[in-house]
């Protein structure tokens, strides 16, 4: 027996000695960080976690990496179908989210803007806002950055309608301004001088409400436009294609309504058809159904045999547009039925992301539309995708 014990002890010692020879001791507590800025082809996938809404996530993804480990770079939490924005100049992410003191059961509600350092993905600040932010399917126009990313505007719906302004530079709540009868928020007055800014909301009767702020984000004035679209028969979608100083809103029937937001007084331009006369049964549809790439080329998710009630159906094709010319320049037949669009990258490295009907994300090179791969990131419901560029 003693020999047996001695033999085992010698074996263990030999094994340990062998291990010590092959491995350096490793540090406990290692945490990785990300490059600043991110490579411009990276993207943020917003998994709203529709089956467990208090557990939403925003994933940082390298879509061109070959391995699962290299694709998934990190994650931020995003509670109760959060809204998302990011600042390139400050290298920050902004997650507008809600919490209940007793979780899904209720209790006290707290809404906050959570600020993440983009390199560490750790929370660098939290700004409490009125617990009124709109709750529902995500849209790019539930929040927007104003005044060269100084202010964050957040749409509220209680069902009273208003917009909260947060000063991201000073890390504080500025105020809340009524937008009665009008919803959502997009930046306007982009060329305003002296730090002044403005935002515009879409009104239920087809008008637009523009609210002007001073250089500290305080209310100055507001004015409504004439009726610029038919809110009942042919409404504009909530989400526009965005190029510098211009927004392009698709309509249910397949027109595009351009709005010049470069000046304090917005200017609505003449609408144009996305489709030819003999293609009117092709309609835009989906969640984030329209987007632009970093070169300003427009992409619209389209489906055939469209009509009343098909405006969220997604599509089998993405049509490509020179937005300024109002002209279609390409047509991409998707590998899988698409529901939501995003882009990243620049130059020859531009990518389009399509959340497909299986809730995976298809990657294409654009503007040509060459299929690259399908990404399975673990996101159950990646409804929104935002490029890092």
């Amino acid at each position: 027996m003693n020999n047996l014990v001695r033999s085992i002890a010698l074996t263990v010692m030999f094994t340990c000695a062998t291990a010590a020879a092959e491995f350096e001791p490793e540090a406990i507590g290692g945490v990785l960080s990300l490059p600043a800025p991110y490579p411009d082809h990276w993207a943020m996938f917003h998994d709203v976690s529709f089956m467990h809404m208090s557990e939403g996530e925003i994933l940082v993804i390298d879509p061109l990496a070959d391995t699962l480990g290299d694709q998934y770079k990190g994650m931020m939490t995003a509670s109760l179908i959060a809204a998302y924005q990011r600042s390139r100049s400050r290298n920050e992410h902004y997650v507008v989210e809600s919490f209940y003191s007793r979780g899904s059961r209720g209790g006290d509600r707290t809404d906050v803007v959570t600020i993440y350092d983009a390199a560490t993905l750790s929370v660098s600040a939290e700004i409490e806002i009125p617990a009124k932010r709109v709750s529902g399917m995500p849209k790019t126009t539930t929040t927007n950055l104003l005044a060269n990313e100084r202010f964050l505007a957040i749409y509220n719906f209680t069902p009273g309608q208003s917009v909260t302004i947060v000063d991201l530079q000073e890390r504080k709540l500025v105020g809340e301004y009524s937008t009665a009868g009008c919803g959502l928020v997009f930046a306007s007055g982009l060329a305003s001088a002296n730090g002044e800014s403005s935002f515009t909301s879409i009104c239920s009767n087809g008008t637009l409400l523009t609210t002007h702020l001073d250089d500290t984000g305080n209310f100055v004035s507001a004015e409504k436009s004439e009726i610029v679209f038919d809110a009942n028969q042919d409404p504009i979608f909530e989400t526009p294609a965005v190029t510098p100083g211009m927004l392009y809103f698709p309509t249910f029937s397949g027109k595009m309504l351009p709005i010049d937001v470069s000046q304090a007084q917005i200017e609505v331009k003449e609408s144009w058809w996305l489709t030819e006369q003999d293609q009117r049964n092709w309609r835009p549809g989906g969640m984030n159904l329209v987007t632009t790439d970093s070169s300003g080329v427009g992409y619209v998710l389209m489906h055939s045999n469209g009509g009343e009630g098909t405006h969220k159906d997604g599509g089998e094709q993405v049509w490509v547009y020179d937005l300024q010319a109002g002209k279609r320049i390409g047509q991409i037949t998707l590998t899988n039925w698409g529901l939501s669009l995003g882009t990243s990258g620049s130059g020859d490295g531009r990518l389009m992301f399509v959340t497909n009907a299986q809730m995976a994300v298809d990657v294409y090179r654009i503007p040509g539309g060459e299929f690259v791969k399908t990404l399975h990131t673990g996101a159950a419901t990646p409804f929104m995708i935002y490029g890092a560029n």
């Binding site: 809600s98 059961r105 009008c182 009104c203 239920s204 809110a231 409404p235 009630g309 969220k312 809730m359």
Partner: protein, 178 residues
Amino acid sequence: MSLLDRLSKITEHTTRGIAQRSSRRGFVGLLGAVLAGTASLPLLPVARASSATVPGQSTGNPADPGDPTTCDYWRYCGIDGFLCSCCGGSQNACPPGTEMSPITWVGTCRNPADGLNYVISYNDCCGKSSCGRCLCNRNEDDRPVYRPAANNDINWCIGTDSSVYNCSTAVILGLATE
């Protein structure tokens, strides 16, 4: 090919792929998860998948025809969410322990039994997390979020103790006037 046919083909394609690797029950659960929250997708394929595992049901009222656990039930022409009929509630009542939102949007649906249009109130049930069963999204007369009285993308758990969404009902308010 209609949209429904196309989506059915997607479903069939997915079915074939996944059925090779999992049980039927597992597939139905996965399909529910896959389509969950795709508020953009008509969810009739899900209803079909679900109905393959349990018998269909009816209201028991010939004047109110159809199966309230399926997406093609007539009252659901503008609904967007998990059907409360599959979640412990019914087509017009919330599951135990939840709270019905007092305000919401209303749509108009045609009752095939009498050919008349009825005003339907799509009240959400609130205070527990997503039911996760029988997701259904139909968008007849739905309009964008900036027209809230005609929009089903908004979480209508408003005016309730919790804005956490559980499922959706379709309550008849009365005959629609032309």
